[in-house]
Amino acid sequence: MYRYDAYDHALVKARVAQFKGQTERFLAGKLTEDQFRPLRLKNGLYLQRHAPMLRIAVPYGMLSSAQLRVLGEIARDYDKDYGHFTTRQNLQLNWPALPKVPEILAKLASVEMHATQTSGNCIRNITTDQFAGVAPDEIEDPRPWAEILRQWSTFHPEFDYLPRKFKIAISGTTEDRAAIQVHDIGLQLLRNEAGELGFKVYVGGGLGRTALLGQVTVEFLPWQHILTYCEAVLRVYNRYGRRDNAYKARIKILVKALGAPAFAEQVAQEWAHLKDGPATLTEAEVARVAAHFTAPDYATLPAVDADFTRQQPEEKAFARWVERNVHAHRVTGYAAVTLSLKARGVAPGDATSAQMFAAADLADQFSLGELRVTHEQNFVLADVRQSELYALWQLAKQHGFATPTVGLLTDMIACPGGDFCSLANARSIPVALELQERFAELDYLHDIGELELNISGCMNSCGHHHLGAIGVLGVDKNGKEWYQVTIGGRQGNAARIGEVIGRSFAADEVVNAVSRLIETYLRLRHEDERFVDTVLRLGLDPFKAAAYPANPPAVPKETAHV
């Protein structure tokens, strides 16, 4: 993975010193709360319900075991012994003390980490596929490009006070696993007919209050131009994005207002001034960064390990784990493994310090000392030998990582919700925990099959509810928690925004409603048909009919509250 050189070290160190000074001036009363807010947000620091929340960047989800150990130590020493991994592959701590934050940032810097630009109206952490570098369907490794974009966007002087936050995601595979169509800029690596590398560029995707898929502004952008083209997009956005209404300030609203062709034309005009200028990428720079992501020295292994083949029929639980949590690898004899953070009774994405230490040990023992954080809020060990899967499984079980449900209903995505987040309208975690209980029976869960269930506590959509085959959104009605349900969403190349099935459900009804949707699906599905495909085949009507009981309780009028 990428290692800092003297420049990277010096820059991150300077940022820590800068924020230390800002914090000291704030605590001394020399900066007002209004003035300090954008500064602390750019360093990942929110003021939440109970305490500040610190969001630590995990650039494109890559962690070394040494880094994860330090994250575990920070959670232990400065927080309540656990952290929350997010849909943007970052780590959130919910209880750090403000005066200690500069110290935490210094500790992060010592292992080449930071909390820079994890919040605020600037360019955020670049995200990508958790199977980067090992996916069988990979066209090109997205990580060097993510790192090049990370450096370009870090402390960018012109784009630090944008109308709103700005998220970039990159996919390097034929099947998009990075949800690039719901990002402000989505980049798809591809090769043209001449075999040259470039990007298909989507702009203006996003979830939130107005969920939209990105529009293609360039079908093939040669790789040399990626930075100048992004600069052109950002300059157009910075100048013309709306600033009068925070809910209409994302670039998607600008793209929609202008229309994609007119927006693309405006970007093209700006880009004409920058194209082929000094910011044009060089082969030397791409080679320098890519050298950090070269394939490890893989052993020559048999395609099928005899012990592994024997172990599965002998132990049903192991076979089940292999079926759900073990993924294909492009190198013969190796596999990628998901360490699930979706154990029953635990908030999705939460990991204790002890688990972070344990995951770091597993990475050292089984996967070349590296691991990834996924946008589905799990860990991935990317380079595990097939012959070692059984041993890994046994250790994963001991540490609560072996829940064999990856891709199933209870592998749900959930934001921290109203338990922690001051933006939330409703709590997410109790709904997630209740769903885990309801669907705990593994045979039933496996029979339901692949199903993405995503929960957001408010319209900001951190839980990606629009992309869930079943999406649950917390809404506020007269101070009470209600939940709106969408169905038919999906991520990937054919990304789709889910549709609302009808009026919201009370907190004690929403899990029953999900159960009724599932029963309807089981009754109506064709063989091997996933939930989302049944919804697309039949439409919403049978699900609507089933979701609402005959005599609904009186529902108070919905009040806007975000």
């Binding site: 003297a6 800068q18 954008p38 370009w152 002087p157 630090d160 300059r235 910011a279």
Partner: protein
């Protein structure tokens, strides 16, 4: 527009501000005449203008017959701490339109904006009331390096890496 101050930072020093930009673009345009009749004014004596966040610097180019250097002071207002358009305006004035004169940031800006304002092309700063200007001078040294190009750095770090040590 925010209150103008007696002392400003210009070219890395605290100085007394001898003149200010007080004409908005709408007030300034009639004074220089429409359609490039700015030629009526002797060179380098066009009155100073203060641009609002939404003002397009291209208007200055058109009004000066393509020579923005007939202005010697352009101010850009930041009415709010989080207003970001002026960063792009400054970059365009310097890099695209070749403006060489004083480019002054005014408004709700303080020490914490200075590094970035300087990078995109501002050389003068009328910082908000209560700012310790001598303390703010230290912000010129906030970072030892820059990853990206901007007005202060023609070459991105990746073209300079290895050429020197930090």
């Amino acid at each position: 527009m925010s209150k103008l101050r007696k002392h400003i930072i210009r070219d890395q020093s605290v100085v007394v501000a001898t003149h200010h930009a007080e004409l908005s673009l709408a007030e300034w345009l009639p004074q220089v005449g429409a359609g490039g009749t700015a030629a009526d004014h002797p060179p380098a004596h066009l009155p100073a203008v203060v641009l609002a966040p939404e003002d397009d610097p291209q208007v200055l180019v058109d009004a000066t017959g393509g020579n923005v250097n007939r202005l010697t002071l352009i101010a850009i207002d930041f009415p709010k701490f989080a207003e970001g358009r002026g960063f792009s305006t400054a970059y365009l004035l310097r890099q695209r339109y070749g403006y060489k004169g004083e480019l002054r940031a005014v408004g709700d800006i303080g020490r914490d904006h200075l590094w970035q304002l300087h990078r995109v092309g501002f050389n003068a700063f009328d910082l908000r009331e209560g700012t310790d200007l001598y303390d703010a001078l230290q912000a010129y040294d906030d970072f030892p390096e820059r990853y990206q190009t901007s007005n202060d750095e023609a070459q991105p770090l990746f073209r300079r890496r290895g050429a020197a040590h930090v």
